[in-house]
Amino acid sequence: MDSAKLQPLDMALVAAYLVGVTVTGLWLTRGVKTSRDYFLAGKTLPWWAVGMSLVVSDIGAKDMVGLAADGYRYGLVMMNFDFIGCAFPVLAAAFLFMPFLWIAGVYTVPEYLGRRYNAAVRTFFALIWALFMMGTVGTILVSSAVMFEALLGWNFWWSVGITAVVVGLFTTTGGLKAVVLTDAISCIVLILGASLICILGLHRVGGWEGLQSTIGNMGWTAHHFHLVLPADHPAFPWPAVLLGLGFVLGPAYWIGNQAIVQRTLGAGSQNQARASFVFCAVLKLVFPVLLVLPGLIGLALFYGELGDPAGWDEGVGNRVLPLLVVNLLPTGVLGIVVGAFMAGVVANLDSYINSASTLVVSDLYRPLVRGRTDTHYLRVGQALVVVFLLAGVAFARIIQPVFGSVFEAFQTFMTFFQGPLLALLLLGMLTRRATSAGALAGMILGVGTAVALNSARFLFGREQGVSYLWVAWWSFVAAMAGAVAVSLLTRPYDEERLRGLVCWIPTREEPQS
């Protein structure tokens, strides 16, 4: 339907990217001798590479396909995911939260929660993260398969298989260093490819004014050029965007997501980690435009073919980006954009698989199987990369027919536990009074609230259900209320137990001023 014929020049560019990334990744495996080298890159990563890796760990194929579809459907409001949902929490993470994880010397976020509360909280969140990451890997594989099918004519399982093999090759052996440095290459290719789509697309529709007038004349697009929508908007009312996305989903993702935190823990110093977060925030100023604008261009150019999104069947939205790529891009440029898409897939996938492996080894395997050599844990981590890839492939099959929008699927996964996780992290880092009993109560209440609200959505249909932004907010509020109430009823920890884990109680080495 929308398939493009890649010319030899396009194929050469795509092959150059794939070979370049794989060779770089394999070359970087030389330095991996210990589990610290593998999971935290020996704490040697430069800030610029970590910053770029943070961006492409967040933005991948799912965002390119999903945000183009939602940009067509809803307009500029989708940029909030990278504005209020990113800039605000990233800067808060850089200056307030990252130092605690750094000083605590942990490998993972659940490890911090385990030290602050107890092993049950650590195990619970480690298990949930493992499941979430498997789902995310599946989501990424589905979105990449959709795009490859449209662009190259590959069938679903062929696309999934090829992607898994390419990513598995260097992620298995190279660890975090290979992942982060190849991510930096992918970030540059991604910016280049997405910029080309926007520039050529805007040129085709007559510039920004042409885009505004074409879409403005459609009648149903009154809010397409606004970031803030009315409070009674059915999908993105501004209070839900501000509270659910800006105050819960965004902070939980940037402060508590293992794939994000692990990169900054691998930086050369605390200053480098802080600089990487700020560099990520600078780069994220342009990414919303690069990802949402194609949806608006697609609306202006292909409304006759794709029609009103209110009447879309499953998967129609996922055709917006392929249509643009196939119809807009000349030879050579097409190769760069397909390469950019592959960059998004590879960078996103390797980040999640590497982090999932770190998490399972650090929080689930090591506490159960103690006293083994470091090499043993390194080998288990490498084997888990393969296991997670295979599990992601299986999960891709399950989620493919269930969700209308790939991006929405990703957000729905997050709402089950992002609110409770954020509540526990905030209470743990910022207050002395939070206890393990309070944490358990908050966790159960928060996840229970998210499950109940999400169930309503599946039972009564998408239109009748609660927006996932509200699910995130109310699960956060429930977890916070449960944790505070039960903590106040239980005996507080003494100061020594909390040293170095709570904002107001510094480690012994630090001056008390």
Binding site: F88, P99, L227, W238
Partner: protein, 77 residues
């Protein structure tokens, strides 16, 4: 006289529920972030508490990002 506060509150609620209230709320979050960034102690900006040139100063770049966000929500909000 007693009705005035109620009218004021109702108008306030109507404004807050509309897009203009939303725009003000989003900009307000970033203004608060800006103030917080400007007031942060040097120890939280740099591990050694050193004063770096502006192009290597993370506080400077964080403020640039925040100002850009305020402009974005002001213009597109």
């Amino acid at each position: 006289m007693r009705i005035a506060p109620l009218v004021f509150a109702a108008e306030g609620a109507r404004f807050a529920a509309g897009p203009l209230g939303g725009k003000a709320a989003f900009i307000g979050v970033f203004v608060a972030l800006l103030v917080w960034l400007l007031l942060l102690p040097a120890r939280l900006i740099d591990e050694q508490g050193l004063q770096r040139p502006w192009w290597r100063n993370v506080r400077f770049w964080a403020v640039v990002v925040t100002l850009a966000q305020i402009w974005v929500y002001f213009y597109w909000g």
